[in-house]
């Protein structure tokens, strides 16, 4: 746009009036009110703070975050990074934070996939499929999440004990101690292969972007899949083979009271993940349905008239428009999963709330404990919001 189209009057500054020290001057009034409000707010905060400190002192309740470096002594069942009860409270809380992340992130991914499928199923022309999806959504959304979590946990506890574990496939055991899967013994070679895969994925993404850009210029399609295959499969395999191709499967086996080895998913984690996923999927399904219905029918017809197949219509025409409607409410569902994961305490999954509660119970420092919980949820929620806002801006309608 050229400069000349702008109305020059809009660039002109308003006339400056001298500041009069009088109540009738709008700017003076504004300044006075602002000083008053900020001062009052500051005074209230100071009053609350000083009273808290004073009362804590009178009652000889310890204050400060010094306890973080003391030995925690608590046993924790599930930890992504090494932990023993001799570690500090800080590390115990870190484990809790990672456990919260573990359930929230996996829950978000699964709920999105599951919810999208149900949302599409509800729009299906197949009567039975759409009714089943409808009933699922209504039932799941109408029951309290806590009740559902207790329900899933009770069901998982009803499974047979480890000695009578269900064994549907060789090496897979399902018992009231959780789900056991065979797992490869992780060695350095596997880490290198994983790194190669990640690098390959990044490269493939740039390659695809480049291919699309070139296609827009000259109209010739350039297949991406040979490069993707090479980067995502051949490269990691080659790295793994070069590192000696180690391959030892760690089979779970019953020894003593319980299974040893293999990958373990505890009933607590499983129940929480199942509950959060199925519950949130019900909401996501409705969001997806609303998003798809928000695309005018004419768009479908126009795309079909152009000769696109129905998969292409969905992928190229409808979804890009539907996503603009879907993303903002989806953000709040992701935030809900994260916050709802705190119901873990009811079924014994040691997330940040559970561990912070125990910490504040052992140390008596409730205010600090609650502050830590708030900080953790605030930072997770803000990160999700920031990412989703960025994504939303990226897919927003670009007007040219």
């Amino acid at each position: 746009m050229s400069q000349t189209t702008i109305d020059p009057r809009s660039l002109r500054a308003p006339p400056r009036r001298p500041l009069r020290l009088s109540w009738s001057d709008e700017r003076v009034r504004a300044i006075v009110w602002q000083i008053l409000v900020v001062g009052l707010l500051g005074a209230i905060l100071w009053w609350l703070w000083s009273n808290t400190v004073h009362n804590l002192e009178v009652r000889r309740i310890a204050t400060g975050f010094g306890f973080l470096s003391r030995e925690a002594g608590l046993p924790i069942a599930e930890n992504l990074i090494p932990y023993s009860p001799t570690d500090t409270y800080f590390r115990a809380l870190l484990i809790g934070f990672l456990n919260t992340l573990k359930v929230a992130v996996v829950g978000i991914v699964l709920a999105t996939i599951f919810g999208t499928l149900i949302g599409i199923a509800r729009l299906s022309k197949n009567w039975l499929l759409s009714k089943i999806a409808g009933v699922y959504i209504e039932v799941i959304r109408d029951l309290p999440l806590l009740l559902q979590l207790l329900f899933w946990y009770a069901i998982l506890q009803g499974l047979p004990g480890p000695r009578q574990a269900l064994n549907p496939v060789d090496g897979v055991f399902l018992s009231n101690r959780g789900l056991k899967l065979p797992w490869i013994e992780w060695q350095d070679a596997h880490s290198y292969a994983l790194l190669a895969f990640v690098l390959g994925a990044v490269f493939t993404w740039f390659y695809r972007r480049d291919a699309i850009a070139k296609r827009i210029l000259d109209g010739r399609p350039r297949p991406v899949w040979p490069m993707a295959l090479g980067c995502l499969v051949a490269l990691p395999l080659a790295v793994w083979a070069a590192a000696g191709a180690p391959w030892t499967v760690d089979w779970p086996e019953l020894r003593g009271f319980n299974f040893r080895g293999g990958l373990n998913m505890s009933p607590e984690y499983f129940a929480l993940l199942l509950g959060l996923t199925t519950y949130t999927a019900g909401f996501i399904a409705e969001i997806v349905r609303a998003g798809i219905l928000a695309v005018p029918h004419g768009q479908w017809e126009a795309a079909q008239a152009l000769g696109l197949r129905s998969g292409q219509v969905l992928k190229q025409v409808v979804l890009p428009q539907a996503l603009r409607v879907i993303i903002p409410p989806m953000t709040s569902q992701y935030l809900n999963i994260t916050k709802n994961s705190s119901l873990a305490v009811a079924i014994g999954y040691q997330d940040i709330v559970s561990i912070a509660n125990t910490t504040l119970n052992q140390t008596g420092q409730a205010i600090e404990g609650i502050a830590i919980i708030m900080l953790v949820y605030l930072s997770i929620s803000l990160s999700i919001s920031l990412f989703m806002n960025w994504y939303n801006a990226r897919i927003a309608l670009v007007e040219r």
Binding site: L48, I61, N361, I367
Partner: protein, 348 residues
Amino acid sequence: MPQFGLFLKRAVGMAALGLTLALPGLAQAQQAAPANTLDAVRGRGQLICGVNTGLAGFAQPDSQGVWRGFDVDYCRAVAAAIFGDPSKVRYVPTTAQVRFTALQSGEVDLLSRNTTWTLSRDTALGLDFAATNFFDGQGFMVKTSLGLKSAKELEGATICVQPGTTTELNLADWARANRVRFTPVVIERLEEIVGAFVAGRCDAYTTDVSGLAATRAAQPKPDDYAILPEVISKEPLALGVRQGDARFADIVRWTHYLLLSAEEFGITQANVDQMANDPRPEVQRILGRNGELGKMLALDNLWAVNVLKAVGNYGEAFDRNLKPIGIQRGPNALWTTTGGLQYSPPFR
């Protein structure tokens, strides 16, 4: 759903703690500054007592919804000492994790809830322990079908434990010292953790031996469960009051000693009126016929008569609540008669 109530209660408790610590005016209204719990209780006309959420023998509502148990009797005794009426109590069920917050925030006046007296709790949590009313120790319970003889055989086991307890910490210490690896399952609500153990989620359940006995007795088939012989810790279960309120702590402490002394001198719920004519000088002092011991505690001089009429002596309270679930006197016998640990300073 009881769970919801509990979560709500926790949230309200936390908020209340924040508010009472922050707002002095509110703190006055809700529970009083540390020094006058007694006045606050009198003004309210009711003692608020923090008890367990439901532990047979210690604190559990009966079929009519009336709270009963050993810990409950201590709430009744203190209410009788203050008001002359043991029914002037409101019971607040507290979980292991929220109990100290409830006391700190003024939500309860007295914590009579099998709570272990430890140095760090005594110094850092803003509470004082008035008296040890039950000497206990931590043990393990397993299903008889496992055929275990010793806790040391629990290598690799999954063990159920309540979070926020000394039990949880002792378990970790003991496992480290004995090189026993275990997987903990921690659930806050007593009913839920016992449910998980009974369902077979855990191989063993650990808590104070008295708690194990209570849980075992409450099962449809108690013989399916066995308590292992090891006692891995000292658990002096004590009555907790807010820190810095010596007068109220004295009342709670001497109420406990009153129950002990009454047993020592043979004063029971039934004979308390006749004992008023007992010639022994200490009995005369205890029952307020002579001297002003009650007034020194800022209570009615006949406080002891009211307390003993309400709950009887220590032995009676023990036999009424704990004997039926199979708990022996053991260390809780009187020192003066059978060499136990329960011992009252003189009423003089």
